[in-house]
């Protein structure tokens, strides 16, 4: 079922920058989609069109078979929540609890419902014990988790995330990845994530759309998209590091690798298979 349908979307900023040049993409319910692209490729501008923060200069964005401009003000935000790149842009209340409750308050819910949702959202991002803490006393990683909680408290059907892993330490990345994976797989929330971190994509996402100069130049599963390193370099991107290693082993050391592994797990399987085959090849003649 198609949740979002974007057709020939164009956007120009007042300073003359043409950020989107005719984007076409469909987002399916329950999928985990990555919008991958170099800095300035138009990822954030596209995300801002998905929840109506920016209005299309040309083309259309359709949500649940209805154009975004046909929705009542505020109705889109109930369905599509966006987590911004810089937590300081999003966290506006003095304490964690107040900030997470901000969205539900604007939905005009009852006080008990607001507090219930705020507590559940904090539980989901494992930050319940920080409820009374002042926002300025949080670390960067904690702030990012509170940003996600603030959006989850609005119970959106689609979650947009703009570079959620940027500036995080490895542990922070792992925590956010687990949270997002749980939200997608267990809660069924459709997630669209803008990133330029290629290593993340094959681990989490079902589908990748690569953007360059305001258009989507390639789209498909990570296995389909991450095949040609030269093409990616032309888009100011690269293969995931483990894939680069495997590609080097294939091309320079002539290892018999057929399909390029994109994750550590896939690489481990491929290498184990190769080692076992090699061992069998060495052992077999003597045995026979």
């Amino acid at each position: 079922m198609i949740k979002i349908k974007v057709e020939d979307l164009r956007h120009k900023y007042p300073d003359g920058t043409q950020a989107l040049n005719g984007v076409n993409i469909n987002v399916v319910k329950g999928e985990f989609l990555a919008i991958l692209g170099a800095n300035g490729s138009g990822k954030t501008t596209l995300l801002k069109h998905f929840n109506g923060l920016l209005k299309p200069a040309f083309g259309s964005v359709v949500l649940d078979n209805k154009k975004l401009n046909e929705f009542k003000p505020g109705d889109v935000f109930r369905k599509v929540g966006m987590v911004f790149q810089d937590p300081n842009d999003q966290l506006i209340a003095p304490t964690v609890e107040e900030d997470v409750a901000f969205g539900p308050t604007n939905l005009k819910l009852s006080y008990d419902e607001i507090m219930g949702r705020a507590n559940n959202a904090l539980e989901l991002v494992k930050m319940k014990e920080f409820a009374k803490k002042a926002i300025h006393a949080l670390s960067y990683g904690q702030s990012k988790r509170i940003c996600i909680a603030g959006i989850l408290a609005m119970e959106p059907e689609i979650l947009l995330l703009d570079e959620p892993m940027s500036g995080l330490d490895p542990d922070g990345v792992k925590t956010i990845m687990k949270i997002l994976n749980d939200l997608n797989k267990k809660k069924g929330i459709t997630i669209i994530l803008a990133t330029n971190s290629v290593d993340l994509v094959p681990v989490l996402m079902d589908r990748v759309a690569i953007m360059d100069k305001g258009i989507i130049v390639q789209e498909g599963t990570p296995q389909k998209v991450f095949t040609d390193s030269r093409k990616l370099e032309g888009l100011k991107l690269e293969l995931p590091q483990i894939a680069q290693l495997m590609e080097a082993l294939r091309d320079k050391e002539k290892f018999p690798i057929n399909s390029l592994p994109l994750t550590i797990g896939q690489a481990r399987q491929e290498l184990s298979h190769l080692i076992n085959t090699e061992d069998n090849a060495l052992v077999s003649p003597e045995m026979s």
């Binding site: 801002k48 929840n51 923060l53 003000p73 505020g74 935000f77 109930r78 929540g81 966006m82 911004f84 810089d86 300081n88 842009d89 999003q90 966290l91 506006i92 209340a93 003095p94 304490t95 609890e97 107040e98 409750a101 901000f102 969205g103 539900p104 308050t105 604007n106 939905l107 005009k108 006080y111 607001i114 507090m115 009374k132 803490k133 002042a134 926002i135 300025h136 006393a137 603030g150 959006i151 609005m154």
Partner: protein
């Protein structure tokens, strides 16, 4: 910058102790009436009582003299300044005289006494406010403000100022360090130039930040409603008991200040 950071840090109010646990409305009642008595008093006794009691109360929750001193520097400076001005301008009985830069100056007793009263009022009043700020978070003050029917816009502005003050200090500190590391403060001329740049860049950044915050708020459904949600719980027996004790203390002080020493 370090001193400013030290002065605005509010982690004391987030701690768990007997003063932070007192209901915010009870504290505001005591401090509000206290400030009023402090302003209206004709004698130094009431301001001094507030100064000493606030100091004792803050020491019970282990607030150091350093933390108090840093926050008192400016009020003390202004207090002394007012006292000197009063001593120079009012009264007839000369206590001390001399010349300064060709001007004949004389400190007079009556003026100094008025100055002393004003000085104690400044110090007593600031101490009462410090008692509030060391023991009450801004969220609780906003909650109490809403309970007192203070307009929502004022509460909103108060919470934003609190939230973004720390961010402003942080950004200023980062930019100053960056300027300093590129020799931006080695001469007077460069210092003035760097300060000018700093102010300009901070202004532009504030505008950008405000725009981004507005987008983020809009995407969470904000259309001019409330920023803060949490309500105050009803007052309990214990709160009424403390309220009564505060009332008796304040009534006793009023009697002392307005009937015994007036």
């Amino acid at each position: 910058m370090e001193i400013l950071k030290h002065v605005v840090m509010d982690h004391f109010a987030h701690r768990n102790n007997w003063l932070t646990n007192i209901e915010v409305r009870v504290k505001l009642f005591y401090i509000g009436i206290g400030l009023l008595l402090n302003i209206l008093s004709n004698d130094i006794v009431i301001p001094l009582v507030f100064l000493v009691t606030s100091l004792i109360l803050l020491k019970t929750i282990k607030i150091s003299f350093l933390n108090l001193g840093l926050r008192m520097i400016m009020p003390l400076f202004f207090g002394v300044f007012i006292m000197l001005i009063m001593g120079l301008h009012k009264g007839e009985t000369v206590m001390l005289s001399g010349s300064f830069l060709g001007y004949e100056l004389a400190l007079k007793k009556e003026g100094l006494l008025i100055g002393l009263l004003l000085f104690t009022k400044v110090v007593g009043g600031v101490m009462l406010l410090l008692l509030l700020s060391f023991t009450t978070t801004i969220s609780k003050i906003c909650m109490a403000a809403r309970w007192m029917k203070i307009p929502e816009t004022i509460i909103e502005v108060l919470s934003f100022v609190y939230r973004y003050l720390f961010l402003l200090i942080e950004e200023t500190e980062t930019m100053m360090s960056s300027q300093r590391s590129r020799l931006g403060y080695v001469t007077w001329f460069k210092t003035i130039k760097s300060f000018g740049n700093l102010g300009g860049v901070l202004l532009i950044r504030s505008i950008v930040r405000a725009e981004n915050a507005q987008s983020a708020m809009a995407s969470r459904g904000y259309d001019g409603g409330r920023v803060l949600t949490i309500h105050l719980t009803p007052l309990v027996k214990n709160d009424y008991a403390i309220l009564l004790s505060c009332g008796i203390l304040l009534a006793f002080l009023s009697y002392l200040g307005f009937f015994v020493y007036s």
